[in-house]
């Protein structure tokens, strides 16, 4: 008995190419996304590029409504990312303000609050509630948070007088002593 087999039609080459391009492209996108996620925040030791923070009226720095990081060379900079909708941010708001009150007269440290994806109305209510007086402004188009690759709020970055990142705090500070412990080495 003879078996007759019908020859299978091969998939055209161009279709194979399209399928492969699609698979490779998809894998590349997934790999890119994963590598970005695993990259985490900017790391201590890295020199921080210049950026501009537009400040809320009433929360200016030395009468300036816009501040560049490069303008603050020679001073230690504490950058705090926060939002009014963020409950953990409330845990450290009073401590941050207390630390600012302590360091402000010395003029060696600058605190910058970067308000992440927030509405100005709610941000003002929050700042008033916690009596915040240090410079604060919105992260317009999320450009600053994207540069720092923040994973959430609150996050605080400590930059030394030369503009090099020295410490990253993920999550809220519990005690003002913890904030001091990060600022003091920057002043030496």
């Amino acid at each position: 008995m003879t078996e007759t087999t019908t020859p299978r039609r091969a998939v055209p080459l161009w279709i194979q190419i399209v399928i492969w391009i699609f698979i490779v492209g998809l894998l590349a996108i997934v790999a890119l996304g994963l590598s970005r996620r695993q990259q985490g925040t900017v790391q201590p030791g890295q020199k921080i590029d210049d950026f501009t923070l537009t400040l809320y009226s009433g929360y200016e720095l030395g009468g300036r409504s816009e501040i560049k990081l490069s303008d603050l060379r020679g001073k230690a900079v504490v950058i705090n990312f926060w939002a009014s909708w963020c409950k953990p941010c409330e845990q450290e708001a009073a401590e941050l303000q207390q630390a600012w009150t302590e360091y402000e007269p010395g003029g060696e440290v600058v605190f910058l609050g970067v308000d992440y994806v927030d509405t100005e109305t709610d941000a003002r209510v929050y700042m008033k509630k916690f009596g915040i007086t240090f410079a604060n402004g919105p992260d317009l188009a999320t450009s600053i948070s994207q540069y720092f690759r923040i994973r959430g709020v609150p996050e605080t970055y400590f930059i030394d007088k030369a503009g090099v990142l020295r410490y990253v705090q993920i999550g809220p500070f519990v005690k003002v002593e913890d904030i001091r412990a990060q600022i003091e080495p920057l002043l030496k």
């Binding site: 190419i17 994806v117 317009l140 188009a141 999320t142």
Partner: protein, 170 residues
């Protein structure tokens, strides 16, 4: 008092009442027209715009269905902007400018968003095609040898090996 004087007084009072009613009517109209400029938008009107925006905290969650506090604040902002008389496009543009493109589902810079990936895919396709052509060339060269001759070559090698083995035994 004369009858004519009394009639005049009544007529004047009538005009005064008519004038008062007219004034009230005009005032009411004016009041209505002022309040009509900024009516309180309904939730549906707010959500119609919120649907086109995305939560800043949760990835890929439209603003109209997101339960987070951040999204509630954003929806409230949309409501305030609608009261101010801002159009849908103005509101979306504001959110994209203030919170970044990811807040809006529609990228501002369409060249960057669409053209660059297409160019990248085309370049990748070009590389793949050229690589496939390179891999196929040796096969094409092999195919030039007729199958019969190829068989002969294998046969000759086989016979040669048998002869060599037989010689060893001798």
């Amino acid at each position: 008092m004369k009858v004519s004087t009394m009639l005049n007084k009544i007529r004047n009072t009538k005009y005064a009442v008519l004038a008062t009613i007219l004034l009230l009517f005009v005032t009411l109209l004016a009041f209505n027209s002022v309040s009509a400029q900024g009516p309180e938008p309904t939730d549906d009107e707010v959500n119609k715009i919120a649907k086109k925006l995305y939560c800043p905290v949760c990835e890929n969650t439209p603003l109209d269905v997101c339960p987070t506090e951040a999204c509630r604040q954003w929806r409230e902002q949309i409501r305030e902007m609608l009261i101010e008389g801002k159009s849908e496009q103005e509101i979306i543009d504001y959110f994209a400018a203030t919170y970044g493109e990811r807040a809006s589902g529609d990228p501002r810079d369409k060249v960057k968003a669409y053209l660059i990936p297409i160019v990248g895919i085309l370049l990748g396709a070009g590389l793949l095609v050229s690589a496939l052509r390179t891999w196929r060339k040796p096969k094409a060269a092999e195919a030039i040898i007729p199958a019969k001759d190829a068989g002969d070559v294998h046969q000759d090698e086989y016979i040669a090996r048998i002869e060599a083995e037989l010689k060893k035994r001798d």
